[in-house]
Symmetry: C2
Subunit: 303 residues, 2 copies
């Protein structure tokens, strides 16, 4: 049952703006998505764009608190919100938020990203995933995986996000598939082959020599063992498998351990299969953790 | 002192044809380079192209033995020469060569590539580097490094190339620099910074979590520690450093060991610096190993 309209959450990234109208329980009422990502805008354009996008909702419901997060809070966005350091929960994230007003009197809260100052060689950073982890809930200590172009592994400890680490897995896979020696060999249109994907995972489990293992995408074809139809999934398995291997070596889990996958970037099934090969027991978080996390943080900010 | 004209070596790759006229001692007398790589040619065009390129030399010196190697001997080239399996020296390579005649009566010898059937998950392959190793000489057992887009590490043992392994280091570096999140941050025109390069090597020595370490190319900038001018060399250090780390883990050397760098792909100084950081003592082979190796193999073939 949807309750009364309570807030708007704006996930404003490099290539898109996604606004969600929610009730007090965090149920999604309506969505608007446009291609007005921050890379398409000039400094000074943001307020006008946002006001225009949200105008129908303001007309219908009056002023509403708006949470804005994502790259819009980065150096290249609207207002740069400094990263909040780990360990942090909703209270620390709320304390790091920047509050403004829109022309119609609506509160506008820019949510901060998170930094892990202990990560080597430089502090690690995220913008958006910390809100997802907060939305998942911090009651239980856990290892959280957020698959993506730049995947994140995070530890929840004592009701706060204690630490995290980035893996640029999705980006490396896309580079290999679209721009490397592998591109010429893969079947078009792309084929997903779960068995070839699992094979790639197994090879990553067998060898951490990633720069060498990648060449097996060519030698497998030369040997007549790997078909053009298998190539894409095999390479995806090798690359995601390297993430699981490296995350284990960096202490994010041990064989037989547990983790939770959150977020919804279309990769979750692949990550479940990877966890299975690497003997990590995973469960899936809810789909709407970003909305829940944003509401949680702005409640702290506006209370 | 140059002796009598003895042979022609044609290094015929994907994007270029490089012909070298040599005397019996392997001294280079003249060079011709054209952009008639095999990717620009149709099946059936090769003999005509080669005859036209070599015509001035045939006019001046009459028929001469011609050694052809590189991608021209691959599936997409002129004549596919099957890979010869390791262990192999000049005699085994010569036995795997394919012999033809050009219209003017010149012997044309297509040199084979090499395969290492024991490499996992599939047999590894090279086309051209085996000739470089043969040209370096096989008298002493050694670890040989051939830097390149697809670097090779090879073991010489009992006067033969015993085994080898490919690392796609140069290709991954180019992808990262030109097509990834790193591309936007690097200074233009490109800057080479030996100190930043060494820094990247040290970080690769500290961490094998390559998919995570690569993100330091962004976080270093956000932290104000890594400048746009340092970025290119830092990333190059991280990637070549991963090759040295992985080669060590796969048994190609131990700390305090020795290796020889051959070939001349513009990377040798960078590989010397990497070896230094990884406590591997390297010496440099001669520049003209490809010519020497090709002469050595065709002598076996034509004798």
């Amino acid at each position: 049952m949807a309750g009364e309209t309570a807030a708007i959450v704006v996930d404003w990234g490099t290539t898109s703006l996604r606004a969600t109208l929610v009730d007090a329980r965090g149920n999604e009422l309506e969505n608007i998505e446009t291609s007005q990502g921050i890379s398409s805008l000039n400094k000074g354009d943001h307020e006008e764009v946002l006001t225009a996008v949200l105008a129908p909702w303001f007309s219908a419901h009056g002023a509403l608190p708006v949470a804005a997060l994502g790259m819009v809070t980065s150096r290249n966005g609207w207002i740069e919100v400094p990263y909040v350091p780990c360990p942090a929960g909703p209270a620390e994230l709320a304390a790091g938020a920047i509050r403004r007003s829109l022309p119609n009197g609506s509160d506008l809260v820019f949510l901060p990203g998170l930094t892990d100052p202990l990560r080597k060689p430089f502090p690690d950073v995220m913008r958006g995933e910390e809100t997802q982890v907060a939305g998942h809930g911090l009651a239980d200590d856990a290892t959280i995986i957020i698959p993506g172009t730049h995947s994140k592994w995070a530890k929840v400890k004592n009701r706060r996000i204690d630490s995290f680490q980035t893996f640029v897995t999705g980006e490396v896979f896309a580079l290999l598939l679209n721009n490397s020696f592998i591109a010429r060999g893969a079947a078009q249109p792309p084929v997903d082959d779960p068995e070839a994907y699992r094979w790639g995972l197994e090879e990553a489990k067998n060898s951490g020599a990633m720069l060498s293992l990648l060449f097996s995408a060519r030698t497998g074809g030369l040997a007549g063992k790997l078909s053009a139809e298998q190539l894409r999934s095999y390479v995806h398995g090798m690359v995601i498998g390297q993430e699981f291997r490296q995350a284990r070596e960096d202490g994010w889990y041990s064989e037989g351990g547990e983790a939770i996958i959150i977020g919804n970037d279309g990769l979750n099934d692949l990550y479940v299969a990877a966890a299975n090969v690497f003997d990590l027991e995973v469960t899936m978080g809810k789909d709407d953790v970003l909305i829940r996390g944003a509401l949680n943080v702005i409640r702290h900010t506006l209370s």
